[in-house]
Amino acid sequence: MRRRTTAAGLANRIGTTAVWLVVAADLLLVLWILLTSLRSGPDILRNGFGLPTSPQSGNYTTALDQGGFARAALNSVITGGCSSLVAVALAAPCAYALARRRSRTSSALTMTFAMGLGVPGQVLVVPLFVGLSRIGLTDSDLGLTLVYVGLAMPFTVFLLTGFFSGIPGVLEEAAVLDGAGPVRTFVQVVLPVARGGLITAFLLQFIAAWNETLFALVLTNSQDRLTLPVALASFVAAQQFNGLDYGTMFAGVCIILAPMIALFSWAGTRIIQGMTVGIGK
């Protein structure tokens, strides 16, 4: 018995050390990217791991302006924000109805949405591209937003159904007894209670849209319609024929990372817990 505890204690100590090592590596990586984005391109190529000799923000001005990252950031915010908003607005009433109504149709619909979770994006990429180009919605923020709304449906409905099932129905009963209509009950009684879930769903969808690369790569092409990941890919692709300014590129990487860092330090715990609650119920 005693021996086992010591062995376990040792294992635990090794584990703890390993965790802290990985944590340190993660932090160092972010720090390195940040520092490198302040150095000049040729300098980075000569030695990838130096400190910025004279920290300069020149890379950021170049990236935002000539690299097109400013416009791309705007596009990312628009498509990510719009699609997440629309997705949650569409999914919330649906998930609520699915969670509250117990019938064969309801479980069939729940299943239909859940099945979408198992469809990898590459199945949709060709059809969506063909379809959107037929109606002239390729290379447009609107087209990309619609695609993201569609992609978001299964998970958002699934997550929110979990959330609504966890909310006690007592409040609604009271509201109905007070003579409130279904919409008023939903908007004024249920939604405020489910706010945490809605925000989680919004944030998760926003993060997914922010980093989404395959569809953005396929559906956009002109430089003022790109989202951030595509701007980065296109910037890297231009290294053939004209060379690549690594300083500017690292600045671009930071522009993609910064909102994620900010978002996560603000709402990280909420995102993680929200997810667990949503998928666990």
Partner: protein, 431 residues
């Protein structure tokens, strides 16, 4: 009861509509369509911040000033090659686009979707009073594969690229190892040996990039009279049994086993070795002549760019970067007018002076770093890289196998056998 349902439906519907409308209005739409008054749409392979884009932008501004035609430009970047086909399919093709010849051929011309531009050859270049055919040498068109209708004027080049071994002529170690350029493969190996004993690597190579490394193989096959496109087109794979192919593979093996490739070449990622080369850690680096522009910011002072073809090469290779017009273009005439306009010496010179690259016009001097490359291109005939082999063959048959040879994991004989087998499988999968 009915009332509640309806109101519920109405409210939810309104909320949905509002949400969608919010999305729509905030997200905006896009526009593209036919132009009037001599205008046209142009999708460019360049990003707006690249020097070529600056040259083109200035020319388009001049064109608009001279003709009043408005040009709608999309700076699409290199990915345009993947987008153009589907765009044509959706009837959204631009009136003008540009890419390298292989991409133009593969994405449009091979499917009969590129406009035959041979009438343009007779068009006069503004202010110069000579036809286009007089400033663009015919050899550049002669090397191109023909589209289904037998035409090979689906691209009008404004930049020419040739692949060669680049080096720093001001490097004293290299100068003593190579008093005169080698004329055969043994000569090159001798130069490499001399460099090795002087403590310098002979060849810098991005080990993970099959394309640039296989250029040596391409030039060797060319020297031995083997046409790569014919080699690839053989569905039985029997052409791989040609002893000349094996010899070429063995010559590559000599470079690898002789230790002439820079140390660590198989454990890095582009551009690590290009950087090493630019910093004098190896003598040669094979690539397109745009490499001088790529490393322009890194090379030390006093660097003097020069180039040779791999010895034994008979015909220099060339790649064209130029304009193409989709068959479905709505304003093809206007686009052709601009092509002729851009080929004026005063416009095209920007490709040499601003973008530091070669143009197809002989009367535009190359930038100093590319003098050797321009001289090589003066050969009476030129050929496409890999003899213009079709797009999917390289990644699916040659690339992996070649890298195995290049990394010293397979012998020349194994390489040839593997290529042959993979080629048979490749053609079977084409169905």
């Amino acid at each position: 009861m009915g009332r509640t349902t309806n109101s519920a439906a109405r409210v939810v519907g309104a909320a949905t509509a509002a949400a969608l409308a919010l999305g729509v209005s905030a997200c905006g739409g896009s526009g593209s369509g036919a132009k009037a008054d001599g205008g046209f749409t142009y999708w460019s392979m360049w990003r707006a911040d690249e020097p070529q884009a600056k040259v083109l932008k200035a020319a388009i501004a001049d064109f608009t000033a001279a003709t009043g035609a408005k040009v709608d430009i999309t700076w699409a970047g290199r990915d345009i090659a993947k987008k153009i086909g589907p765009a044509i399919a959706a009837n959204q093709a631009p009136d003008l686009w540009d890419q390298s010849d292989d991409k133009v051929y593969g994405a449009t011309a091979s499917a009969g979707q590129a406009l035959d531009l041979s009438p343009l050859l007779d068009q006069r270049i503004p202010e110069e009073n000579v036809p286009v055919s007089q400033v663009i040498p015919a050899k550049y068109f002669d090397m191109l594969p023909k589209d289904p209708s037998g035409a090979n004027h689906y691209l009008i080049p404004y930049e020419v690229v040739t692949n060669a071994m680049f080096y720093n002529a001001a490097d004293p170690v290299l100068a003593s190892a190579m008093p005169t350029p080698p004329t055969d493969w043994a000569g090159l190996l001798k130069v490499c040996d001399a460099l090795k004993s002087a403590g310098k690597a002979c060849i810098a190579s991005e080990g993970e990039d099959p394309w640039s490394n296989a250029l040596y193989f391409d030039y060797l096959l060319n020297g031995a009279g083997v046409n790569v496109a014919k080699l690839a087109a053989d569905t039985s794979g029997a052409t791989w049994d040609d002893p000349a192919v094996l010899t070429a593979a063995q010559q590559i093996e000599q470079l690898v086993r002789g230790g002439h490739l820079i140390a660590g070449y198989d454990a890095t990622k582009y551009p690590a070795q290009e950087t090493n080369w630019a910093n004098g850690k190896a003598a040669f680096y094979i690539d397109g002549n745009y490499v001088t522009a790529e490393v322009a910011q890194q090379v030390p002072a006093g660097w003097k760019s020069a180039s040779i073809l791999p010895p034994t090469a008979k015909t220099p290779d060339a790649n064209l970067i130029g304009f193409a017009i989709p068959k479905r273009a709505k304003n093809a005439a206007a686009a052709q007018k601009f092509i002729a306009f851009f080929l004026q010496k005063k416009q095209l010179s920007g490709i040499a002076t601003t973008a530091l690259n070669l143009t197809p016009r002989k009367d535009i001097p190359a930038p100093a770093e590319l003098a050797d490359a321009q001289r090589a291109l003066e050969a009476p005939a030129v050929r496409l890289t890999f003899d213009g082999v079709s797009g999917a063959w390289l990644p699916k048959v040659l690339n992996e196998n070649y890298l195995d040879l290049w990394h010293g994991k397979t012998t020349a004989a194994q390489f040839v056998a593997k290529c042959k087998a993979d080629q048979v499988a490749y053609w079977r999968a084409q169905g």
